[in-house]
Amino acid sequence: MNNKNEINQVKNSMESFRSDFPVIDQLINNKKLVYLDSAASSQMPNQVINEVSRYHSNDHANVHRGIHSLSHRATETFENTRKNVSEFINSKNTNEIIFTSGTTESINLVAQSYCRPRLKKNKKILISHLEHHSNIVPWQIVCEQTGGSLDVAPINQDGEIITEKLIDMIDSSVVLIAISHVSNALGSLTEVKNIIEAAHSKGVPVLIDGAQAISHIKVDVLDLDADFYAFSGHKMHAPTGIGILYGKEELLEAMPPYKSGGDMISEVTFSATTYNDLPYKFEAGTPNISGVAGLGAAINYIREIGIDNITVHENSLLDYMTSELQDVDGIRLIGTASKKVGVQSFLLKDIHSHDIGTILDHQGIAIRTGHHCAMPVMEFYGISGTARASLSIYNNHEDIDHFIKGLDKVITIFN
């Protein structure tokens, strides 16, 4: 599939999409912006920005509770996106899609609503050493609350979860395994399907933190047989403030609500309150309706390009970037997994990543620096942070050439 011809074809067609992203088309410090920070937050195409505006200007009203036309239109926009998400990740039922405020909230929901009642002394949550803080701290807190413990599967020097070791750590004391599909600091692609299979054979459910996977590779929750899958709109060209939790119906059914308030109840009296059905049980209060409208447009946009085309494009760019980086004098690549997605972390001589960041920014190049909310990964490598360049649909070879040239200036200043 990845033959040169095909890559070139994809490359040409991707170039035409670039102009859909208005943020990309600007000068930063009088230089054309080179945006290499999509792993932190991806940019939105006009299709998404305009859909949010259209919703705000034409259809806005509160959802679900209204009989008037605007409210009906808002509800349709909202519920159609739920269907859209369900199809996009291939969930069996639409009511398995819960809208949250982001990956972080999705994970908190599972920690509090699924794990808190099940955890106790001698029971554990199993994560890995390469997780984002959002997939560490909620588990630490629920362990503290219940007396459960947190087990951490090791990674190797390339920054890969050692699958066999993780699988060895699974036993009946594990309440849930929570691992990321793709590491945000290192780009490593986890062997989630194998892990899920092994976990299920021992009766243990698995949550996948898909924040860094969802806009880069095909995600099929049925095929993976994931029990929970969490991701954020803003990492897939939709607005911030909207996230998704996919959960298997039978698991969600059995869970108590997380937040409570309007819309998630069926009947309220002061003596007793009964909860609404899925997915509403988990969606208390007025939701982020325009965020959901934007999410729908983002999914349509990704579908139009084709997620497989995106993968081909980004993989080819990542290969190019990594090989160019390797030629830079004094570079040390952090994260050299054999299977990677869209991200390269690195160190340059003894130069602190913030200084790299500032000097690149001065040339219009936006990368991320620091610990990337993955302090345990930094600690593993014995470093305080890295510089990280991350890729998306709209990046091209020129971006990478600018970036590599930008690093020359860093070296010059520090020599």
Partner: protein
């Protein structure tokens, strides 16, 4: 300025028959002696309905309902009881499933129209042109199905 497809005809929705059934619902009230019953709620608007059935020899010999709701939901429940009384259980189930299917079917495809084979029920067809009200019309039918199938759950419309 945005515009929007016009919704249905109000006079069709609130036909005389509907208003009459809403005002004076048939078979209204609790039925102490029953073989099956079920409760339905629409959590978003607070409508509640309870259906009581007395089965005898595979037939619905008696049926009643109680609850609160709008004209559409009360009329629909009232018409339901009239329609299903004395039907065979199998026939009644088919009726209910057909009603729900037609109500939820695509608004545009007109082949689905007028398939109730029941002039009174036919009046509820107009509800299809008022999408926010379809649940009002279907709640009692779903509740009926849940009762007759012996499911011990509260039906909710979502």
């Amino acid at each position: 300025m945005a515009t929007q497809k016009k919704t249905g005809n109000l006079k069709e929705l609130y036909k005389k028959l509907v208003i009459e059934h809403a005002r004076k619902p048939q078979n209204f009230g609790c039925m102490e002696l029953h073989s099956d019953s079920s409760k339905g709620v629409n959590p978003l608007c607070g409508d509640k309905i309870k259906i009581y059935i007395l089965q005898e020899k595979g037939h619905i010999s008696k049926i009643s309902f109680e609850g609160v709701g709008c004209a559409i939901s009360i009329a629909s429940a009232s018409l339901l009881t009239e329609t299903l009384k004395n039907q065979s259980v199998a026939q009644a189930k088919k009726y209910a499933k057909n009603f729900i299917m037609i109500m939820n079917s695509n608004h545009e495809s007109s082949e689905n129209k007028k398939k109730f084979n029941n002039r009174d029920l036919e009046t509820l067809m107009a509800v299809k042109d008022f999408p926010t009200r379809i649940k009002c019309a279907t709640l009692c039918w779903q509740t009926f199905l849940s009762a007759i199938e012996g499911k011990d759950i509260v039906v909710t419309t979502e």
